[in-house]
């Protein structure tokens, strides 16, 4: 009971962050559970083109009279999956390589940082465009992986710098004097002091993965898989939806979905920061 209450207090102590958490939960539920409840409307209804929101079509209809809301519900899963996968993979690569670089030093450090420099200098979008032409990016795991491989260097550098500074701290020196072992020093002394930073960067990595992916889809560089906010945006664009007042709902719905999800993620970082930093915690 007490733990439940204190968990609740911890979650609600930052209002903006808590709203972010609710937003993220909402989008996750909508994208992963929603498709089982809301069937995807694929039927062309000539008499219902570009309708405003109504009880029947919550977000109006598209250029072929199909329900936009159902498309939003079905189009989120892929975007979210790629975001999570790319975020986790790039953060994982960054933390591993950054920490390794700092702790190993010498030529390993030089090699990893050299690689990071090279990746940083490659213009990502053109490379993705070329890659999209070479490989079929239908599989979203592969797409996430490619995004991750391009996204790790800046975080890796930051992690390296943090590890280098943390390992000179007095409490790490004390742990060395106490002979607590390298494993303990890395996992219990250094890592916990970076965890909020890492988690927050994970979130930011997700947001940039969303932009990269939606951008690719929008430009048509990734083969349409049918259901994706990016595809919706692209279709709305090519149908000239921005030119008609009535089609506003068609083009704005995926934009709003992406923007709201991003906003929720960014707000969530505030809460995470408080949760992972005991100094900011008001409750014990």
């Amino acid at each position: 009971m007490t733990t439940l209450r204190s968990t609740w207090r911890m979650l609600t102590m930052n209002k903006v962050g808590f709203l972010g958490l609710l937003g993220v939960l909402f989008f996750v539920l909508m994208s992963f559970v929603g498709p089982y409840i809301v069937p995807l409307d694929t039927q062309t209804k000539v008499d219902k083109i570009y309708q405003p929101p109504s009880r029947e079509f919550w977000l109006g209809t598209d250029s072929e009279g199909r329900d936009i809301f159902s498309q939003i519900v079905h189009g989120g899963k892929e975007v979210l999956m790629v975001a999570f996968l790319a975020g986790i993979m790039s953060t994982g690569i960054a933390v591993t390589l950054g920490a390794l670089s700092a702790l190993a030093g010498g030529w390993i450090d030089a090699a990893i940082m050299g690689l990071a420099d090279i990746v940083l200098t490659i213009p990502h979008f053109p490379l993705l465009a070329v890659l999209a032409g070479l490989i079929k990016l239908e599989n979203y795991v592969l797409l996430a992986f490619i995004l991750a491989v391009l996204a790790w260097p800046s975080l890796a550098r930051a992690i390296r710098a943090q590890v280098l500074s943390l390992r000179e701290r007095d409490f790490v020196e004390a742990a060395r004097a106490l002979d607590l072992g390298t494993r303990h020093i890395i996992l219990r002394e250094i890592l916990p002091n970076m965890i909020s930073y890492i988690v927050i960067n994970l979130i930011f990595a997700m947001t940039s993965a969303i932009y990269a992916q939606v951008g690719l889809v929008f430009l048509g560089l990734v083969p349409f898989s049918g259901k994706n906010w990016g595809v919706m945006l692209s279709l709305a664009w090519t149908r000239g939806a921005i030119f008609y007042k009535n089609s506003l709902w068609y083009i704005m719905s995926p934009v709003a979905a992406i923007a709201l999800f991003q906003l929720s993620l960014v707000s969530l970082t505030r809460l995470l920061e408080e949760i992972f930093n005991p100094r900011l915690r008001t409750t014990v």
């Binding site: 701290r169 007095d170 409490f171 020196e173 004390a174 742990a175 060395r176 004097a177 106490l178 002979d179 607590l180 072992g181 303990h184 219990r188 002394e189 916990p192 002091n193 965890i195 005991p278 100094r279 008001t282 014990v284």
Partner: protein, 699 residues
């Protein structure tokens, strides 16, 4: 000169019933409570007290620089400008601008670092003058040149310099000159010598005293350093929990304090003069300014406290001419000279023995050299790479510490004492030379021996805020090493032991501390947790690197007493690193002191010898420069004048004896040619000085 405070007479500044509060999340912080005092022209008034007692807030409110969360609840601050009297609290922004710097200048704590690093000093002087309405360049130039000469700075060189080209002491002197630029009749100095080395501190004190003599201004000195107040102040005001508790002339107060808190503060400071005296540690800690105790705020820590103190707050009343005290029992304190403060600080002995780690212990073995030397540094040298250059931080350092002994390492910053400590603790390998632990050459031994040594030697760091991992609770900090080394077999046993350890370091009741995070503890409590953590592995040797220098006076003493108790009861030997010779004297009276200068030991010997009969001119200079918490002693002390104030950089160590450019005994052709080696001069004292060696007929 002593000046009496006649509140009806002429005053420069007069504060009446000032109340200042901060709005914090938990409630109102009563930072300044009903403070009244008057400052005569030309007078120096020092506010003393521990951190968090409202000194700085008071200073800031005098110049109306309080942060946005602070509010002056009540009171008046009156300033006399010629014949007119100005109420500072009612000034508008424009008038305030005129008041600041022209009428009243404040020099902040740590302001040595407040210069803009990309502007030359001259530009910053100019900016300051212009901001306060003076724009005649020639006038400014002339004025600052005069002032720089008074504070012993070469005007042309310093004005052209960028801040990073000046040492900390020089920057502090520039600031003092800058503060006096527009001839303000009132100057507020907040901790002017904190974070400066002893010799630099001395130069700042001398400059201040000289300035006071030549230019006529009133000075408000805010300092936790009782020695500084003893040197400079005419009158002293003790602050406790935001209120003035005692006010009087510096001579009277230091000789015979009437308030138990003042008595405690003064007796908590070690002195150089005379025999080693036991010091007072005021029990407990300053109160929470949000929830003040009832009655007298000091009563929970006061051995004189009675029922009345718990109920009624004593007013600050005049008890003698020029003497005010806020204490119901001041007569008792005056009578027994505050002696009761001491009785309550008696500490219990340590009865608790920490079980040794299960693993094989070296200490059980017979020492191979057959002596009781526990740790020995032999001709240790250490270099660091700075950019492309190699800097030699330690050069030919040899030290020995016997079992249960205290060796104090003393010197100014950059002399290599911290590096020596790290090398002694096995945290840093020497570039050359040997570290022997019970005779074993540790960097040249098997892994087991090294690990045993590593655990037997623990380190206590200076900064209580950096030495504990902020993400770990006290429980984790203490149980991790206990479990790791098999001192405890399981979590429950580890918890019991950790509780015992907390009790050993006087963190009682331990339940209150066991689940805390470091940020929930005070500085002194954190240092105790650090000590407890070191004790988990049953150390035989502790390296205490300025372990008490960041703590308030009263807390400092109790931590020193704890360390001393561990030595007595557990037989722990110490390498005690400090910049403060008075602390060294107090802690290592039965031990030895080694004085370091630019990476070398220049003198070492038994503590009483070093303190009372120093041989090396550097040791003599350090001792003579040290201010003491006794106005008579500190003002009558003979000072050794050094030939240069500036410490040479390690990047450019002088030839021969590294001290020769500053040494008063310098002999050309000898001191700048050959490095002097330590030679025995009797009484167990070793000195590295050509002149001393020749005079003793050793050479």
């Amino acid at each position: 000169m002593m000046r009496t405070s006649d509140t009806n007479g002429l005053f420069t500044l007069k504060v009446d019933n000032l109340w200042v509060t901060y709005q914090a999340e938990r409630g109102k912080v009563q930072a300044v409570r009903d403070v009244s005092f008057a400052l005569s022209p030309g007078e120096t008034l020092a506010f003393i007290g521990e951190s968090g007692c409202g000194k700085t807030t008071l200073g800031l409110s005098l110049i109306r620089l309080l942060p946005a969360t602070a509010r002056v609840q009540e009171g008046h601050i009156l300033f006399r400008r010629g014949t007119e009297i100005v109420d500072i609290l009612s000034l508008d922004d424009r008038e305030l601008r005129a008041y600041r710097w022209r009428d009243c200048a404040m020099i902040f704590q740590g302001a040595q670092n407040a210069f803009n690093p990309v502007l030359r000093i001259w530009d910053q002087v100019l900016d300051t003058a212009r901001a306060h309405g003076v724009s005649d360049r020639r006038f400014i130039r002339q004025r600052i040149t005069e002032l720089f000469e008074l504070v012993q700075l070469e005007p042309d060189r310093v004005l052209r310099a960028y801040p990073h080209q000046l040492s900390g002491g020089m920057r502090q002197r520039v600031l003092i000159a800058l503060g006096l630029l527009l001839h303000p009749p009132l100057v507020i100095l907040d901790e002017p010598t904190t974070a400066l080395d002893i010799l630099t501190q001395r130069s700042v004190i001398d400059v201040l005293r000289d300035l006071k003599k030549r230019l006529d201004f009133s000075l408000i000195l805010i300092s936790h350093d009782l020695s500084l107040a003893a040197e400079l102040a005419d009158r002293v005001a003790t602050m406790y929990a935001g209120a003035l508790v005692e006010l009087g002339s510096v001579w009277d107060i230091y000789k015979r304090p009437y308030h138990p808190y003042t008595a405690g503060l003064i007796r908590a400071v070690p002195t150089i003069r005379g025999e080693r005296k036991e010091l007072i540690s005021i029990p407990g800690s300053p109160p929470d300014l949000i929830a003040l105790p009832s009655g007298c705020a000091f009563h929970p820590r006061c051995p004189y406290a009675s029922e009345r103190c718990r109920k009624e707050q004593p007013p600050l009343q005049v008890v003698e001419a020029g003497r005010q005290v806020a204490c119901w029992h001041w007569e008792e304190v005056a009578e027994d000279n505050g002696i009761r403060m001491k009785m309550d600080s008696a500490q219990p002995g340590t009865t608790f023995a920490i079980p040794a780690p299960r693993e094989h212990s070296l200490s059980a073995q017979a020492p191979i050299n057959g002596q009781d030397v526990i740790l020995e540094l032999k001709r240790v040298e250490r270099t660091f790479k700075v950019g492309r250059r190699m800097v030699r931080v330690l050069d030919d350092v040899s030290l020995q510490v016997h079992e249960g002994e205290v060796l104090c390492l003393v010197g100014e910053s950059g002399c290599g004492k911290t590096t020596t400590g790290k090398i002694a603790a096995g945290l840093l390998p020497p570039t050359s030379g040997e570290i022997r632990f019970r005779g074993h050459n540790v960097w040249n031994s098997d892994k087991e021996t090294f690990r045993t040594y590593r655990r037997a030697v623990q380190i206590i760091h200076q900064d209580p805020y950096a030495s504990l991992n902020p993400t770990q609770r006290v429980s984790t900090i203490l149980t991790a090493p206990l479990l790791r080394h098999g001192v405890a077999r399981n979590r429950r046993e580890a918890k019991d032991l950790a509780m015992e350890l907390l009790r050993t370091v006087d963190l009682t009741p331990p339940e209150d501390f066991y689940n805390k995070y470091p940020h929930q503890l005070s500085g002194g409590q954190r240092q105790r947790v650090s000590v407890a953590r070191a004790l988990t592995v049953h150390p035989e040797f502790l390296v205490a690197d300025e372990a008490v220098s960041m703590l308030d006076v009263s807390i400092r003493v109790s931590l020193l007493q704890l360390l001393e108790r561990l030595r007595r009861d557990l037989g722990v030997a110490y390498l005690f690193i400090t910049h403060d010779l008075a602390v060294a004297k107090y802690f290592a009276w039965e031990g030895r002191i080694a004085v370091m200068y630019l990476g070398r030991v220049v003198e070492s010997g038994p503590t009483p010898q070093i303190i009372h009969n120093p041989q090396h001119p550097y040791t003599q200079a350090l001792l003579s420069a040290l201010p003491e918490a006794d106005p008579e002693a500190t003002r009558s002390k003979e000072r050794i004048q050094l030939r240069s104030l500036d410490v040479p950089s390690l990047l450019n160590v002088p030839t021969g004896c590294a001290f020769h450019p500053r040494c008063p005994l310098y002999e050309a052709g000898v001191c700048d040619k050959e490095v002097p080696h330590l030679v025995d001069v009797g009484d167990g004292v070793q000195v590295a000085c050509h002149v001393v060696a020749r005079e003793r007929g050793i050479a």
